[in-house]
Symmetry: C2
Subunit: 266 residues, 2 copies
């Protein structure tokens, strides 16, 4: 992990939050890294062009390389006199076509978009067909063989509740508690498009993609619902494999105790 | 309209149909034109590379420049010994990334994919929000102001049945009968994504896009349901305006009396 470079920032008495959408295909994830394009760096560059000053941008969720977002929430503090609405059209002018600001609100200083989030919703899209898809391939994993979505749906219901999700973590040294609260987990299908929706208070790195990797085994009939639950109950990092590819995953929404609009000071 | 160039074709005793998906953004529509990329030309080029001989490709529906398809149906006759399944992987190898063959069947010679089609389903996608969208902008029309989808849905129900749809045609000289049978017409919304679904035996040129242009007026409150019906009843070409842009439209499916799979000879 690269260190974020220290840069001089301006006196910053106002804080804003943005709801951001992106096609993550061309980016090495949300978080700043040297010499590769990241969502954070693009947002900071656009903000500097718009406001004439550098502002550090903080994200509520660190999406991995290639992962998309419909509702990433970020915040920054600034001394600029720009209004919240100016950041929507202004940043969308400077941002590349694959990143866009959907909403902007001025909120109380000190509002921590990561810690204040009560839950995140991720969606994973699978295209269940043999041939490639011009219209969906950028945002779905294509799986050729038959997938039994009813079995996948039954299996994923075991995730609901407060559990130790260590098995769905990728082993990467000490990582603190692996207990998370899942509120929603469901698999549904419309024609050849399958979507897995999961809402939890927070997620371990790669948790959703490791869960999907396992659910695809269930859908293919290579693992039973009981074996799925057994891997979950074992709570052993690295057990849930393989990690499904990034392109099917989208950070759909970040939830707060109140709607961000209601936190708005303007 | 350019004339399709005459080319020598091989003795062609076998006929195949393909179900084709494409992102129409980069194409001047389905039908062959000189000096511009078209879906038909790309399919014919890929077929010639794969089978070593030129085959004329016929489409069931002429999609306009920039219009997409999830289920365009095309046919060709050939003397090649290739099997139906060979055309899926083989053509997908030679076709550009924005065109793909989803299904292929060998059928009885003389099966006319255009005349035998009993209905076509088109879908038009609207993104109802102020800011641009990296994930949906290639396949949706973005409309910033509020759209009342219930009013749009009520208005479009008047389209159902056998009617003279002349008002939804673009005036282009004599065009034969403008009577069509609409089976399904509905508008629904999920968050900021609106979809208009219409199924009819056949469509006049620009009919769906002219219908959507009018429905957006209804959704904005600039036209009543009665005015919508009045324009339809007037049956006067050019009345339904404006023509909604191509990028929101997708040829979703072409229906035959029996599933194409059941017509298959292999």
């Amino acid at each position: 992990m690269d260190l974020i470079p220290e840069r001089l920032t301006c006196p910053a008495d106002k804080q804003f939050v943005l709801v951001v959408e992106y096609d993550g295909t061309g980016y090495a994830g949300f978080q700043w890294q040297s010499n590769v394009p990241t969502i954070q760096a693009e947002l900071e560059t656009a903000l500097e062009k718009l406001s004439g000053r550098f502002c550090r941008v903080y994200g509520s969720s660190r999406t991995d390389s290639g992962v998309h977002a419909l509702g990433q929430v970020v915040s920054f503090s600034t001394g600029s006199e720009l209004k919240a609405r100016d950041y929507i059209s202004g940043l969308n002018h400077y941002l590349p076509a694959d990143i866009a600001v959907r909403e902007a609100y001025r909120i109380s200083p000190g509002f921590d978009v990561r810690r204040r989030a009560v839950s995140r919703q991720y969606r994973y899209h699978i295209l269940n067909r043999a041939s490639r898809s011009p219209l969906y391939q950028a945002t779905s994993l294509r799986v050729a063989g038959e997938l039994d979505t009813e079995r996948m749906d039954c299996a994923c219901r075991h995730l609901i509740g407060k559990h130790d999700f260590a098995s769905f973590a990728t082993p990467m040294g000490p990582m603190g508690s692996t207990i998370r609260r899942v509120g929603t987990a469901e698999v549904s299908r419309q024609d050849d498009r399958i979507v897995f929706i999961i809402v939890a208070n927070a997620f371990l790195p790669h948790q959703v993609r490791n869960t999907v990797g396992l659910l695809i085994k269930v859908g293919r009939g290579r693992m039973t619902e009981e074996e799925f639950k057994g891997i979950m109950d074992a709570a052993e990092p690295g057990l849930a494999q393989p990690t499904a590819p990034a392109m099917g995953l989208v950070l759909y929404r970040v939830n707060y105790a109140r709607e961000l609009k209601e936190e708005s000071l303007e």
